[in-house]
Amino acid sequence: MEGNTRIYLCGGCDIGRCVDMEGLAAGLKKEFKPAECLVHPCLCGEEMVARIRSDAAAAPAGNIVIGACSGRLNTDVFAFDSGAIVERANLRELVAWRRGADEDAEDTQALALDVMRMAVVKARKSAIPEPFVLPEAEDAILVVGGGEAGLQAALHCARLGHAVLLVEQDGELGGWMARQHRDTPRRPPYEKNQPTTVRSLVDEVRSNSAIRVLTSARIEKIAGQPTQFQATIAQNGSAIEARVGAIILATGARPYDASRLAHLGYGLSPDVVTHEDLERMAREGLIVRPSDGQPVRSVAFIQCAGSRDSAHLQYCSATCCLTTLKQALYVREANPDAQVYILMKDMRTPGQSETFLRNVQDEVTLLRYRTEDPPAVEAAVASGADDYPLCVRVRDWLTWGEEVRVPADLVVLATGMVPTTLDAKILGLDYRQGPDLPTNQYGFPNSNFICFPYETRRTGIYAAGCVRQPMDSAAVASDAAGAALKAIQSIGMLSRGAAVHPRAGDLSFPDFKLQRCTQCKRCTEECPFGALDEDVKGTPKPNPNRCRRCGICMGACPERIVGFANYSVDIIGSMIKAVEIPDEDEEKPRVLVLVCENDAYPAFDLAGAHRLGYSPHVRIIPVRCLGSINVVWIKDALSRGFDGILMIGCKYGDDYQCHFIKGSELMNTRSANIQEALNSMALESERVRLEQLALTEYDRLPGLIAEFMETIESVGPNPFKGM
């Protein structure tokens, strides 16, 4: 910001041994005329922290620039609750520890001075973000789906004081679980089926005054943004309007379509049924042959029916083994003499449910088939009263591939789960990027992040239960609680203008100078979170509460009209321009390294902590996301005389690690624009490179940089130097 700049330089942790601190201070004083520039052997000591705190609080507010350790560390120590801009310059990990005291002192000094220059310029150009607070935040929560997940989520939200609107497409609440005769064991000793609890959940929801239930209802449309979504719900031919703050998607899954399983005998006889059918038979208390009502003496369950099968569902639905064990007990309860055969590939009963398997195992016969050699279900030729109508031929690999003929009154296909999101439009989001949550390859709106399982690509909308991924009933209950927490939390944070994950709490937001917009639509297309809508002409309509503050819109904009108070094209551009470019005859190249602040930047810190050295000629600038890099920075850097530009971001592709979904990938697709820029300047394409790096791959950094420096050396100095 405008106003005084105070610079504090730390000589501790070897910085003072590697850098001429007084020389550095003198250079900064001369260049920036700060109100103060002070060198101290240990800035993080109590005395200096108190001193800086009081300086930061002094009026008028100005800029505090601390040249010490990485800004990722000592954040609580250097957190001053004042109106001042506090900028940290990394003299320890990125200068002293990278260089050591024995390297060329002139190069180290030039590096330290550039690191400080960039920080001072950044502080001076930045402003303290003022949160953008939308009026009249709504704290009601819309829960879509009235099965176990939706019921639990609704109750959790109501318990924490939120009004809930629960929308269910069926006439009744309860969903899939209400159609189950029994539940698999959820509590010790995990040996027996247990009653389902969904009825009592339905009663609890029905009697809770904070929960409004709409059955036989569907979402027509949801417009707006978190804290002020406007939902239109169709019920009995009429439209109901509701304003909600956040949304929980809990529409569950349906069984895979068994009519596609003719190869496993479905359709051959009414006695070939599915899990769903057997559940109904058990509920009705009548486990008999559907064909003729005769008792069931032998049942063959075929596991992975249409699952773990590239022609059907490639994934495993995670619950079918448990369901079969549960149903085996139904059969045995109905007829204690009945034979139960379970034909499986692998028995999957993780955790304590192994106890259930152990308990049921004695009552059943397990046979193991191989994927390439599935069981064959045949109608047996009837020749006598004792004959079974069906026969399953299977090569059993628990008995070394012996062919076994299983006589059966009933064949039960263990079909997997298909997410309801695959079938139809559910949320009807009035978003430029489509009406529903983006999904994985199988149609589940599942988070790609192991560490952040609730992250969807639509802010304020969280998926819970089997629509998110296949899970058993115990997992559904806790999943609903988590989604409810995230929904409530998002309303709390967004209603005070703070971002949610991953930049949780960030008060900055992108400001669009729309009068300069050329309606190119790049920002509205590239926003990973669907935050931007468009008017008819194609002008972006920002929805600040959908935004995650990654800056990808800023990187996308060719007109440079997007920026944040503390992160803008001008701020980073000015930092780039602050770096001193030596003349060509000095033979000291300069390489700009733009790095993702979440992964690559910490990797540089770790490289420093391990005292891994690399070229002193690179200048590192962290960015919110590689996707926020505006090509103009690259052009500016090249026209200033930087010899090369390296961008280091997160892994992209199917297993992307980018926390903004596709930032690094977008940067890769923008490389065409970069090539265009290079061509227009008659520069070699090798001068700009994109690398993917994980945080712990810090050991790769020295080699990666050395290799790039060699490339740059072979290409030769940038001819724009000194122009």
């Binding site: 993080c44 999957r348 304590q352 690999w397 560490c451 988590g482 995230k486 992964d599 712990t696």
Partner: protein
């Protein structure tokens, strides 16, 4: 703390355990506006995941998620108080008004520590590094780990030679204080989240699999340290006995799991862990041959894709078989395995450079708080029937993978907040 109807009432949450479940619970609670105390037994947050090289199935480093979570902790530094080397001594009161006494062990390093590392070379002690499951060495004064928060060093005082204060002399910041003593501390909290995590099953109890008899028989958690860049071999998977590269390795699944003599339950993650570790070996050595002997391959949900991916590698042999015995050839350090071939019949004999025992997870919940909690026969907390205000999360409830633990810890925060409202 404030007064409600004349009674003391606290909205603060105590999170017991600073692993990924506890970190998640703390961050999610703080972003709900709650005050949180994270009580961690060791010197730093991070827990078991900090010891992992990569997560399955994405093969991404746990440090990445820790970094994001640490940033969120830093932004909430006024709400999240981290107490390390701390254990709960007593709890009284009830939901909304628990009084908790903590025992805090001395760190012997204060907050002046800058993690500069000058003390380390001064320390005369070298001892097996627990963080590396004994595979590497560290001085008595050391950083807890690369992704430690707080990053302050810690002294394992019991190892210090009498009268030695070389680390204190080497520290320019006065951060080493060898006179620190244990302390107690009292907290008022409204609810308690148990995120106490797990301990690997003690492989030495599985007599036939030879752990302890050969250094080349390791466990799956040790394999993570061998593969990690910050580990004892800087990420190169080398045989512990002689430091040679690994050309052949065998993974023994259900080592002490699904076994009434050991852990009767399935830990649910070991199949994926071994498949993942097979990729570590294969990435480092294109000629490496890997065998995985299993009872059932358990790769539920979308993990199936990862199984398919590994199956495509013909240098990874997945075999349904029970490993009956592992013995070391003393001359070569190689390992001789006898395997009962379930699908083919008969017994297989093979020799490998390394054997990895896929051991399961043992819950730490029992005894972590002096409260009358309900456990199943394996020591996991039951899902319900706990005292009001006490909410188990993640691995304290059952053996699950990281994503499930995080999902569960998120839900636990809501239950904790709900439990202290009257």
């Amino acid at each position: 703390m404030n007064q409600v109807n004349g009674q003391s009432h606290s909205d603060a949450i105590l999170v017991l355990g600073g692993g990924i479940s506890g970190i998640t619970a703390a961050v999610e609670a703080a972003e709900m506006g709650c005050t949180v105390y994270v009580v961690e037994r060791t010197a730093s947050l991070g827990g078991r995941v900090a010891q992992m090289h990569q997560y399955f199935p994405k093969l991404c480093p746990p440090a990445c998620g820790l970094e994001i979570n640490y940033q969120r902790i830093r932004k909430n530094h006024d709400r999240i108080k981290i107490l390390t080397l701390a254990e709960v001594a007593s709890v009284s009161g009830e939901a909304g008004a628990f009084e908790v006494t903590l025992n805090l062990q001395p760190r012997f390093v204060n907050e002046r520590c800058t993690a500069c590392g000058l003390c380390e070379p001064a320390c005369p002690v070298r001892r097996p590094r627990q963080f590396d499951y004994g595979l590497g060495e560290a001085p008595a004064i050391h950083a807890p780990h690369e992704m430690a928060l707080p990053s302050w060093y810690v002294v394992e005082r019991s190892l210090c030679p009498p009268g030695c204060a070389k680390c204190a002399e080497a520290c320019p910041y006065g951060a080493v204080d060898l006179t620190m003593t244990a302390k107690t501390m009292k907290l008022s909290v409204g609810s308690i989240i148990l995120a106490t995590g797990w301990t690997p099953y003690d492989a030495s109890l599985i007599a036939n699999l030879g752990f302890g008899a050969s250094r080349n028989i390791i466990t799956n958690v040790m394999m993570e340290r061998l593969a990690a860049p910050g580990g004892p071999t800087h990420g190169r998977i080398l045989r512990p006995s002689d430091g040679k590269p690994v050309r052949t390795a065998a993974f023994v699944q259900c080592a002490g799991s699904r076994d009434m003599n050991h852990l009767p339950y399935c830990s649910g993650v070991c199949c994926m862990a071994s498949l993942k570790q097979a990729t570590y070996l294969r990435k480092q050595n294109p000629d490496a041959q890997v065998y995985i002997f299993y009872i059932d391959l358990r790769t539920p949900g979308f993990f199936e894709d990862f199984l398919l991916q590994v199956e495509r590698d013909d240098k990874v042999v997945l075999k349904k078989g029970k490993v009956a015995r592992v013995e070391e050839d003393p001359a070569t350090g190689n390992l001789q395995l006898e395997v009962e071939d379930i699908m083919g019949g008969g017994k297989l004999q093979l020799q490998t450079d390394l054997v990895v025992l896929a051991t399961g997870m043992v819950p730490n919940a029992r005894g972590a708080v002096p409260l009358d909690l309900q456990y199943d026969e394996y020591g996991f907390c039951t899902r319900d029937a706990q005292p009001r205000g006490v909410v188990p999360a993640g691995l304290s409830k059952g053996p699950v993978d990281v994503a499930s633990a995080i999902q569960d810890a998120t839900g636990a925060v809501l239950e904790a907040i709900g439990s202290m409202r009257r």
